[in-house]
Amino acid sequence: MSADIPLSAQLINLCASVILLLAFAMLAQRRVMQLINLFALQGLVLCLSTLVVAVTTQQHHLYYSAGLTLALKALLLPWILHRLVRKLYVKWDVESLVNVPTTMLVGVVLVMIAFNVAQPISILSQTISRGTLGIALAVVMLAFLMMITRTKAIPQVVGFLAMENGLFLAATSATYGMPMVVELGIALDVLVGVIILGVFFFQIRDQFDSLDIRHMERLKDN
């Protein structure tokens, strides 16, 4: 359709749209295992998109970023989550998401808001991937929506990690990635966070016999 956009930019935009689509898919996915797979796929696409930016712009540290993304978000974290789900025996834990269409509609509205917020900023950016800043913000907002609508602990955490994916996309699209030391620190925090949550899940299940956080509604101001 528009021949004046270079192939690399088109590839980046394609990756970003796939990430956005996956965010919507996660919003509607009821099975925990499938949800984790979707998250792993999102990590993979994120890695690909970072790689395309790296190859096009010859930014060396982006290769490391892409490698880190692949190792952490596409492999290690999904593996940890899979193990957790198996150990906790919640594999067939299907959530009853009653209002998927409504959630989707809210999601669409969020995407529009995100695009509007990002518009003035992406104009200022000179990066090849600037068009994806709106998508990145949309992914963050959709992940946030997912955290609000889910009632089980693991999907909430997947939502939290998906939010981090969106932030990473924002960082690569607006600025070609954060300084390496910061990116390493963030990766470390995410990893430690997931491990702590793993410990935490067992504590929750031992106390409540379930990972349904609807049981946790005792603390109120009254």
């Binding site: 200022l124 030391v181 910061v182 925090d189 935490f200 946790m216 603390l219």
Partner: protein, 485 residues
């Protein structure tokens, strides 16, 4: 020599945290915890003296930066960490004898306590706005398992809420940091130094205002979640009420300060880039909203630790408002109030911790006649409460008075709101604490005598600062206040 001192400051909590994990729960482990915290405090005090004498300096290249503003927070953090470790010795032994905590949990507590101190010291001294974010998130992670230390349903719920809400908040702060880097990169270029605060502050005037405005909003809401600013404050009362009391003391006394420090650093940049009162007005708005909300929720609390947690939210609102007004006087008052609040609130939590152990409950209605059970704890709680409510001659009065008079002069419309909130808070808290201290009692003996010294040490300092602030401290506050603009 100076270089070493700073490394020692960071190394003590990190190494002792690891050491406490390895050695496990021994008879002397609490003492090791105290010695390590004492060492940290000593290093912080020496570092402070050095900074006062020789001015600001870098460490580890330009990655860490210590100036008169953050060294003040470092000293405060190390001091309260030290007294909390003294308090937690007998407190945690009592908890163990009551069968509420086992040896592995105590090990977890001590090692996480030290790592928590480490993350806060890194957050305070780092020069890199990205590392500041990383350290803030790490501070959350180290305390999640401390909040759920008792493994009761309520404490797990509190810890989950804490993790998710602060996680969401801190994710927004990360977006703010990304935007900040984006703005910085356009001026400073694509080097690893573009997120260094000292570099940013040099070029703050030429940072793109539109990006900086959006960035500051995200940073304020994000770090504000950890400060306890409304409307994302919900995690705070739960985490304070359900976690062990020493954790409540450091959360209230230190973590909130460190989060506010992150907001202040961002505000300096935003003010420089945007100009005018944009950042200040936002902070005043959030501050007033938080203050009002907390004052009216105070009265509905039945749990004593929850009530004082809301009191912390109230004071954080007041401090945010003070920094929002800006200017040398208001910044001075804000810094003074932060110090007073840290010292007083941790003293109150120490006293509350002993009181709840004595009476075996956290319910306000069930705690009665502390003055007869143990006069020292009773008076400690009473004096602490009077101090936090801003009664003269305690130091909180001085800082609240400064904030109020400054508001009357420059923002008269805010004065009735401030007075209303402070009045409501006074009536609610005093009305609840009075029967707890005086009244009929059912006593209980504790196997380990409580550590009373920290309570009165803190209150004594607050009293002293209310009557007389040493000149070097005034200079130091003034310098820090000037840096905030």
């Amino acid at each position: 020599m100076e270089f070493d001192l700073f490394l020692v400051l960071l190394a003590i909590p990190l190494v002792s945290g690891a050491l406490l994990t390895v050695v496990g729960e021994r008879e002397w482990a609490p003492n090791l915890n105290i010695i390590a915290s004492g060492g940290t405090f000593l290093a912080a005090a020496l570092l402070t003296a050095d900074i006062i004498a020789n001015g600001p300096r870098f460490a580890l290249g330009e990655q860490f930066f210590i100036d008169s503003m953050n060294v003040f927070f470092v000293a405060l953090t190390a001091f309260v960490g030290f007294t909390t470790s003294i308090f937690s010795g007998p407190y945690m032994r009592n908890e163990r004898e009551h069968g509420r905590l086992s040896a592995p949990r105590l090990r977890l507590y001590k090692s996480m306590f030290q790592l928590f101190m480490f993350t806060m010291l890194v957050a305070l001294t780092t020069n890199n706005m990205g590392i500041l974010w990383v350290a803030m998130e790490a501070a959350t992670l180290t305390t999640v398992l401390l909040v759920s230390l008792y493994r009761t349903p309520a404490s797990l719920e509190a810890a989950w809420k804490y993790f998710i809400l602060c996680g969401v908040g801190i994710a927004q702060a990360l977006f703010g940091t990304i935007l900040l880097y984006f703005a910085a990169e356009r001026v400073l270029g694509e080097t690893g130094n573009s997120l260094l605060w000292t570099h940013l502050v040099d070029v703050k005037g030429s940072l793109e205002p539109a990006i900086m405005a959006l960035s500051f909003i995200f940073l304020l809401v994000g770090y504000g979640t950890k400060v306890g600013l409304a409307p994302l404050h919900n995690w705070l009362p739960d985490a304070h009420a359900e976690g062990p009391t020493p954790v409540s003391a450091v959360l209230s006394g230190l973590l909130l300060n460190v989060a506010l420090y992150a907001v202040l650093r961002s505000k300096v940049l935003a003010d420089g880039a945007i100009g005018g009162d944009f950042a200040g007005n936002l902070m005043m708005g959030f501050g007033l909203l938080t203050l009002l909300m907390a004052a009216f929720f105070l009265g509905r609390q039945k749990d004593i630790k929850r009530m004082f947690a809301y009191s912390s939210i109230e004071h954080m609102g007041l401090i945010t408002f003070a920094f929002g007004m800006g200017g040398a006087v208001a910044n001075f008052a804000g810094l003074l109030h932060m110090t007073m609040h840290s010292l007083t609130k941790s003293a109150i939590f120490f006293a509350v911790g002993h009181a709840t152990q004595k009476t075996g409950t956290q319910l306000i209605a069930d705690i009665r006649g502390l003055i007869r059970i143990n006069p020292v704890i009773g008076w400690g709680l009473m004096l602490g409460t009077l101090a936090i409510l801003g009664m003269p001659p305690f130091g909180v009065f001085a800082s609240e008075f400064m904030i109020l008079t400054h508001a009357m002069k420059y923002y008269p419309w805010a004065t009735p709101i401030l007075l209303l909130a402070l009045g409501v808070a006074f009536a609610q808290i005093f009305g609840k604490v009075q029967p707890m201290v005086f009244g009929d009692t059912h006593a209980k003996r504790l196997p380990h005598a409580p550590a009373i010294t920290p309570v009165f040490l803190h209150l004594l300092i607050v009293l002293m600062l209310g009557l007389w602030i040493p000149p070097y401290l005034t200079r130091w506050f003034e310098e820090a206040a000037r840096m905030l603009g």
